[in-house]
């Protein structure tokens, strides 16, 4: 009696725990995926300013030249009062006594910097040397931050030295009270839309445009292409080897100590951390056998191929073992040679499983970072042609996400690019996994008929 009730309690507790952990997993997935998708979407769909249109026309020759030029002219007209006020103010300042003049001049310089970051270089000034300074804010969300910087100065109140200073926003207009520059701030606040002409767009160029000036402008073509080459190369190397090795292990290998050693080696290799593969790739492919003079897509592909090889062998092995013995026996009894029975009977039957393994390891190869750090990936580089993949390194999605969020000197200004890369990579891997499911379903249906 009591043992039955205990069993029931245990049973319920187990069901509850199982349900709870499934829920937790779903919640975690939601918490991770939703922000990735929403924020990443912002790299493609956002409110672009006239500066973005000007940049696209200049650097990528996309957009209707006449329309953009009209808009640039309209925006320039709206900006005119700003530069007129600045000019008048500079003249006015010259008449002031020296200490006051110096102070106002340096204040004005700070203001001009903030304005340049918002609107791009003032008309009539020399073209800045860095590409990123040649255009104002490209995105309306970033422009609003820049408007904030024009209107307010960030300062810290250190009056209580026993505490950390408190951030305060000081209206910049305070510095220019009583001067002719005073109305500029209201003007910038009220006319910002006329000066930047924001508009919603879908920026498909994010995938097809090569980035300029270390990801400040344009898209992620080189990264997408790099990930594509690396994954494809890894598959070219790993799939034939993996499937052949699996066939050998399942169909030909005898049950002796050598083969069981090989099997356990494969299993162990599957558990080796990916950074170890990366270091091995550097030491072996690049420094020892010199497959290329520098890091290259080739070296990276080989390393990634090695990384996914054990997984592929295991998956193919499982798929081959799952083919009923009767299939093989029937083929052999009809007089087919072992090789013939493998290629015409067993392999087709195992194909859904093998393909699933292939697509899943493809997803892994696309997403791995550690193996390519030392063998293939760079933070800045051009999209490669097929021939150049043999000798040249490439940017790749996984690595450049890391690079952008840690190493880049101006991360805060280009977060959207980072989110867009994450979005693209996650979507790519999801699509690959999805196609694995579809392929599997289709093939097994076909085989059943």
């Amino acid at each position: 009696m009591s043992s039955r009730s205990t069993r029931r309690i245990l049973d319920r507790a187990f069901t509850g725990l199982g349900g709870f952990s499934t829920l937790l997993l779903a919640a975690a997935l939601l918490v991770i995926l939703v922000p990735i998708l929403i924020k990443g979407f912002g790299a493609f769909v956002f409110r672009e300013t006239v500066e973005h249109r000007r940049m696209l026309l200049d650097l990528y020759e996309t957009g209707d030249r006449a329309a953009v030029e009209t808009e640039v002219a309209a925006a320039a007209k709206a900006r005119e009062p700003v530069y007129a006020m600045l000019g008048a103010f500079k003249k006015e300042v010259e008449a002031l006594p020296a200490p006051e003049r110096r102070k106002l001049k340096s204040d004005c310089k700070d203001l001009e910097k903030a304005l340049n970051s918002l609107l791009g270089p003032a008309p009539g000034t020399t073209q800045p040397i860095l590409l990123r300074q040649r255009y104002g804010q490209n995105r309306w969300d970033r422009a609003q931050v820049a408007i904030g910087k024009v209107l307010y100065e960030e300062a810290y109140d250190y009056s209580d030295s026993s505490q950390m200073g408190k951030k305060i926003l000081v209206p910049r207009v305070e510095r220019f009270r009583g001067t002719s520059l005073e109305p500029l701030f209201d003007y910038v606040r009220d006319q910002s839309k006329a000066m930047l002409l924001p508009r919603w767009i879908f920026y498909g160029g994010f995938l097809t445009h090569t980035s300029r000036d270390a990801h400040f402008f344009g898209g992620i073509r080189a990264e997408v292409l790099g990930t594509f080459y690396l994954t494809l190369g890894a598959m070219l190397f790993a799939v034939p080897m993996g499937v052949i090795a699996a066939i050998y292990l399942v169909e030909y290998a005898r049950d002796n100590w050598l083969n069981s050693l090989i099997r356990s080696c494969v299993s162990t290799l599957a558990g080796v951390p990916s950074i170890v593969f990366g270091l091995f790739g550097l030491a072996f492919f690049i420094n020892t056998i010199h497959v290329s003079g520098s890091k290259s897509v080739l070296a990276g592909s080989l390393t990634l191929g090695l990384l996914i090889l054990p997984t592929l062998i295991r998956a193919s092995e499982e798929a081959l073992r799952a083919v009923p013995h009767t299939y093989k026996q029937a083929a052999l009894s009809l007089g087919a040679s072992p090789w013939k029975s493998i290629t015409t009977v067993i392999l087709p039957a195992a194909l859904p499983g093998i393909l699933t393994g292939i697509v899943i390891s493809m997803g892994r190869a696309a997403g791995e970072t550690a193996p390519i750090i030392f063998t293939a990936a760079v933070s800045v580089g051009q999209p490669l042609t097929l021939l150049k993949t043999l000798t040249q390194p490439t940017p790749a999605l996984s690595w450049n996400i890391y690079n952008l969020c840690t190493e880049h000197e101006a991360v805060d200004e280009i977060r959207h690019v980072q989110y867009g890369m994450v979005f693209t990579l996650v979507l790519l891997v999801l699509l690959l996994n999805l196609s694995a499911i579809v392929i599997r379903a289709r093939l097994s249906r076909k085989l059943r008929v």
Binding site: S162, M164, G293, S294, V378, V380, G381, T406, E409, V411
Partner: protein, 273 residues
């Protein structure tokens, strides 16, 4: 009539030949310091903007890797934020690599804290004590009662090497030190942590509070006249002097041109006078 045609053909051929001359082609692989990274990337952008046929790739993996890739011949240019060590030079020699050093810019190592931190000046002595762990709380320096979070670069870094020599005098850093892999990572860690202190190249101080050292603010002037105590040159290393007229030679020479100097300045570093 025939002569005229010949002249046109010749002129066309000559024009095409000249065009081919202007269309430079080549690949340059750069690896190394994250401090030199912004200069390298901006140089690459500038040069590839001029000659679209040239592909320049830049990795930022630390000065140590810059040296290794020159020694192993896996990069054309090794970026470093400290001079090559004797051990590295010997390794290069044994592999037959002729190490050529090019000082492209000067940089001060800025000591950075969270912008809310009221402490505005430190001495080198105090800085060393912070990093050895002797000073563990900002209240000991006239700041709030907050533990100091010590952030340092990893040992692969040239900035670490310089800091180690000029500030630590080879004393051991405290066990509580957090080691991170790049200037950008230090910047972000310090920006988001109240009690943090870190050190970065001058191009990475955006959004942080730069502390005066021995009463001197790191500026181009104070770094050049050495009144700011923690300054260092930034290097690009090559294997042998690149042959005159090659893409590599022209690219490497950018730091001597006025455009190159402007790029260095705009990125926050100090061009060589």
């Amino acid at each position: 009539m025939k002569v005229k045609r010949w002249i046109t053909v010749c002129a066309l051929a000559a024009a095409m030949a000249m065009n081919a001359g202007a269309e430079k082609k080549g690949n340059i692989v750069m690896d190394g310091s994250t401090t030199v990274g912004p200069i390298a990337k901006a140089f690459a952008e500038y040069y590839m903007g001029k000659y679209p046929g040239v592909n320049i790739s830049v990795s930022e993996s630390g000065s140590g890797n810059g040296a290794k890739s020159i020694i192993n011949g896996t990069a054309d240019i090794g970026n470093m934020s400290c001079a090559m060590k004797d051990s590295e030079l010997e390794a290069a020699k044994s592999k037959g690599v002729k190490v050529m050093e090019h000082i492209v810019a000067m940089d001060g190592i800025a000591i950075v804290v969270h912008p809310g931190n009221p402490v505005a000046a430190l001495t080198v002595e105090q800085l060393r004590k912070i990093y050895t762990g002797e000073i563990g709380n900002w209240s000991q320096l006239g700041g709030p009662n907050k533990p100091v979070v010590v952030i340092s670069r990893d040992t692969n870094s040239g900035t670490y090497e310089t800091f180690e020599t000029l500030v630590m005098h080879s004393e051991r850093m405290t066990d509580k030190t957090e080691y991170v892999g790049s200037n950008g990572a230090i910047r972000q860690r310090v920006m988001t942590t109240d009690g943090a202190i870190g050190y970065v190249g001058l191009a990475f101080t955006h959004g942080l509070k730069v502390v005066d050292i021995d009463g001197v603010t790191p500026t181009p002037e104070s770094v050049l006249d050495k009144s700011y105590p923690i300054g260092r040159p930034l290097y690009m290393y090559t294997n042998g002097e690149p042959a005159e007229g090659t893409v590599l030679a022209e690219f490497l020479g950018l730091y001597k041109t006025s455009d190159g100097k402007k790029i260095i300045e705009e990125q926050g570093f100090i061009p060589m006078p």
